[in-house]
């Protein structure tokens, strides 16, 4: 095998792998990208029923209700323009609070309720989840950056 041919073979294998990986990635993007919707988006955009998506906003004050089984929760997420009812079974993250930002992942059912599979709390309470801040900015209800300033002096 000459040097040229060896280089060609290596290049072909690399291309094959790269091409295969690209195909896998594109295919996975088709099925597995999770889009974010604000409550207003849910009202105004067509939303596929049954597909995994994320919603976010503020937990409406006084909206958290617990079923008699003690495990299933119902609450309303709002961007102060529109709202969506969410139900979730399980232990809430430590930072879940009425009036605070929240992001939930799950599916929209046909009746317009959101069935959350997980409620995310990867932020500490000094920060607003970024998606939520964006959603509030879009709905025009954003008041200043003081809640996202974090520890920056």
């Amino acid at each position: 095998m000459t040097r040229k041919r060896q280089r060609l073979v290596i290049l072909l294998v690399a291309l094959l792998l790269g091409g295969g990986a690209t195909a896998l990635v594109l295919n996975a993007f088709n099925d597995n990208l999770v889009f974010f919707y604000s409550p207003t988006d849910l009202k105004t955009k067509p939303v596929p029923v049954g597909r995994s998506l994320r919603i976010g906003g503020l937990v409406e004050e006084g909206s958290v209700k617990r079923d008699s089984d003690g495990v299933t929760l119902h609450f309303t997420v709002t961007d102060l323009k529109n709202r969506v009812a969410v139900s979730y079974s399980g232990v809430l993250p430590d930072l879940f609070r009425e009036g605070q930002g929240v992001v939930a992942e799950g599916t929209l059912s046909a009746d317009g309720n959101f069935q959350a599979r997980s409620v995310l709390a990867k932020h500490d309470e000094r920060y607003m989840p970024r998606e939520v801040a964006e959603a509030l900015k879009k709905s025009g209800e954003w008041h200043g950056d003081d809640s996202t300033a974090g520890t920056t002096p």
Binding site: T2, V13, F29, F35, R54, G70, D124, A149, G150
Partner: protein, 660 residues
């Protein structure tokens, strides 16, 4: 006063880094020995200055000096001492100081122990190392000064984020940084070699121990982080393909590739340009990780501050270092003369394929991590990429790699006998099929991926032993000869065997945790019990206790199986009163094969508690496997041939002795 001295030391360090990044490099270019000699004292001075700065900030944290802003914002007089110490790097400025300190430690280590390195290579490598330090010192001094004073000094501090008040903080960040920053050494050597225009077996031998040390630390750091995320509820479990986790995983994947390609450079004098490219990209990914985590583009517990100016500064450093290095690579790499040709079926062929697969796997993770950011910046909407994406892209690439892992070590250098290797591996193939069948039978089908995972783990584990057996000639020689050969194996070979075995163990753990996790969430009153599989969890009590800087409800679960008590678990629900922040402390009992995991949720006000119980089979093997991989790395690192300061003469003497 000492705080100001620390600040001053940091500024001096900046000046020293400036000298060290220019004079030795110019000296190497002009072949001026005295200019090159600046590198060694420079690196040591740089280390001493940064260590002093670090110590002075540490002192402020330990003594709770609330005139320092960094202490005020991250400490509280009641905080336990462990977290006063570790809280230093539990924030943006302090963690950067740790980053730079570790960079300086590596530099000083090369200066002190690299006596046998060629003067020019050493001068250049230390110069490049100082250039990296220079950028990050500038970043600290201009945007993230840890020594800023606060006047008037408040009576007490704001306390550290309670999520970070965990022993994990003591080990996870320093280990991770030792790994991230350790790859700067490979980077510096690569740039030095590019300037020199020469890469040879000796170069690979010098780079290998540094790369290996970084790899060991990064492996341990990722393992610790994953363990922390596992026992801390709400972080998504031991691995969630979170961008921050990926940020540490990408350099690990490429670093692993680098480790393997350096072997080819050393043994066969081939793949040089590729190896250099990997060294650049690995450190580049470490920098990208720092950027992702520190810039605040990702929201997570790791993003200490959301300040765009800092993000742009890190991005600029990233472009400067990686862009500059790649430009240099494009210019100089053609000058690196490739070594001999090689056959596709050979050890080097297998290592090359391993490299391509690892790089491809890394690319899929890279796309999944950065695509949402890209889409966000271009206005394409907010999306997130979760575990299903990685299951569909990463796994199909990494599975052939595992298959190859069994075969590769059995192939000889130059030209190998694939059929022979496969014949010897029949037992590994049989074991894989048997384990898959057994799993299928035990779990009445079980998810397909679980069968594949168990088979892959068995394949790798058994093939590791087949390779070891072949190497020591089991069956061909007598038992005594084989044993003698076992003890005479070079440490690097033993290290490989152990590390590969560690991966196999981790695969079993990953498969078990992903496939057979049992979960039960319920509302439970004190005295009631709940069944989870064969186990019965009884909530005996939930009472209030007081901690140093929090109060908590502590539950007591008695876990029994067939009437016999297996474990008592004490999960807690804490409220840290300085920041008014609740945290949930899970309680875990492990017997090595399965974990019992209990969480106390919120009370319902009527005497009931939301509780969450898990049984996680095999999950402990993940960290067991990581530990074995780290051990393997350490064994390999202790190989005499790679000992950093190993005198060349002695090596030569041994060679003559062997030849005689």
């Amino acid at each position: 006063m000492i705080v100001e001295l620390g600040h001053y030391a940091l500024i001096l360090a900046f000046a020293v880094a400036m000298l060290q990044s220019t004079i030795p490099v110019i000296g190497a270019q002009r072949n001026n020995a005295r200019w090159m000699a600046v590198a060694k004292p420079g690196a040591i001075t740089l280390f001493l200055l940064i260590a002093f700065a670090f110590a002075s900030l540490m002192r402020a944290h330990i003594l709770s000096d609330f005139s320092v802003r960094n202490v005020v914002e991250n400490s509280h007089s009641l905080k336990p001492m462990l977290y006063k110490i570790t809280g230093l790097w539990g924030n943006h400025e302090g963690s950067l100081l740790l980053w730079v300190l570790i960079l300086a430690i590596y530099g000083a280590a090369v200066a002190l122990f690299g006596n046998r390195l060629p003067t020019r290579l050493k001068a250049r490598a230390l110069g490049v190392q100082a250039m990296v330090a220079l950028g990050f010192l500038a970043f600290m001094l201009f945007t993230s000064d840890p020594f800023e004073r606060m006047f008037p000094a408040p009576p007490d501090g704001n306390d550290l984020n309670p999520l970070l008040q965990d022993p994990g903080l003591a080990f996870h960040p320093p280990m991770l940084y030792l790994g991230y920053v350790g790859f700067s050494m490979a980077f510096s050597f690569a740039i030095a070699a590019l300037i020199e225009g020469k890469v040879d077996a000796a170069w690979a031998r010098w780079v290998r121990p540094w790369t290996l040390a970084a790899w060991i630390a990064l492996t341990a750091g990722i393992g610790l982080g994953s363990w922390w995320a596992y026992y801390e509820l709400g972080w998504g479990g031991w691995w969630y393909w979170d961008p921050v986790e990926n940020a540490s995983f990408m350099p690990w994947l490429l670093g692993t590739a680098l480790l393997h390609s350096a072997i080819v450079v050393e043994k066969r004098d081939a793949l040089k340009a590729w190896c250099i490219l990997l060294a650049i990209l690995t450190f580049g990914l470490s920098l990208i990780g720092t950027f992702l985590v520190r810039s605040g583009v990702l929201t997570s517990v790791h993003a200490f501050a959301l300040d765009p100016a800092r993000g742009i500064f890190v991005l600029a450093l990233l472009v400067l270092y990686v862009g500059g290095a790649l430009a240099l690579f494009a210019w100089r790499a053609p000058a690196l003369k490739g070594g001999g040709l090689f056959q596709p079926v050979s050890r080097e062929g297998a290592l090359l394929l391993n490299n391509l697969l690892l790089a491809t796997a890394c690319a899929t993770v890279f796309i999944g991590t950065l695509y949402p950011l890209f889409l966000d910046v271009t206005g394409g909407g907010t999306v997130s990429v979760g575990p299903p994406f990685y299951n569909a892209t990463f796994l199909p690439v990494i599975l052939p790699m595992l298959l190859l892992m069994g075969v590769g070590p059995l192939l000889a250098w130059k030209r190998a006998d694939l059929a022979g290797a496969l014949t010897r591996l029949w037992i590994a193939g049989a074991a894989a099929l048997a384990i898959a069948a057994l799993t299928w039978w035990l779990h009445r089908g079980g998810p397909l991926l679980a069968l594949v995972g168990m088979a892959a783990g068995s394949w790798v584990a058994v093939s590791v032993f087949v390779e070891l057996g072949t190497r020591i000639g089991i069956g061909r020689n007598g038992m005594a000869t084989s044993l003698r050969r076992l003890f005479q194996l070079p440490r690097s070979a033993v290290g490989m065997t152990v590390a590969h075995l560690g991966l196999a163990i981790a695969i079993f753990g990953i498969t078990g945790a992903a496939a057979w996790k049992e979960e039960h969430v319920a509302n439970l009153a004190v005295g009631q019990s709940l069944d989870l599989g064969a186990y019965e969890f009884r909530l005996d009590e939930a009472r209030r206790i007081d901690g140093v800087n929090y109060w908590a409800y502590r539950g007591r679960f008695t876990v029994s199986r067939d009437g016999e008590t297996v474990a008592t678990l004490y999960p807690e629900r804490r409220l840290y009163w300085v920041q008014h922040m609740p945290t949930t402390e899970a309680a875990i009992h492990t017997n090595g094969l399965a974990d019992l995991y209990a969480v106390l949720g919120e009370p319902d006000g009527k005497g009931g508690w939301t509780v969450r119980l898990y049984r996680e089979p095999l999950v402990a093997l993940i960290w067991g496997g990581v530990l074995v991989m780290v051990l393997g790395g350490l064994v390999s690192l202790s190989d005499r041939r790679y000992r950093v300061g190993a005198p060349a003469q002695r090596r030569a003497a041994i060679a003559t002795a062997r030849a005689a």
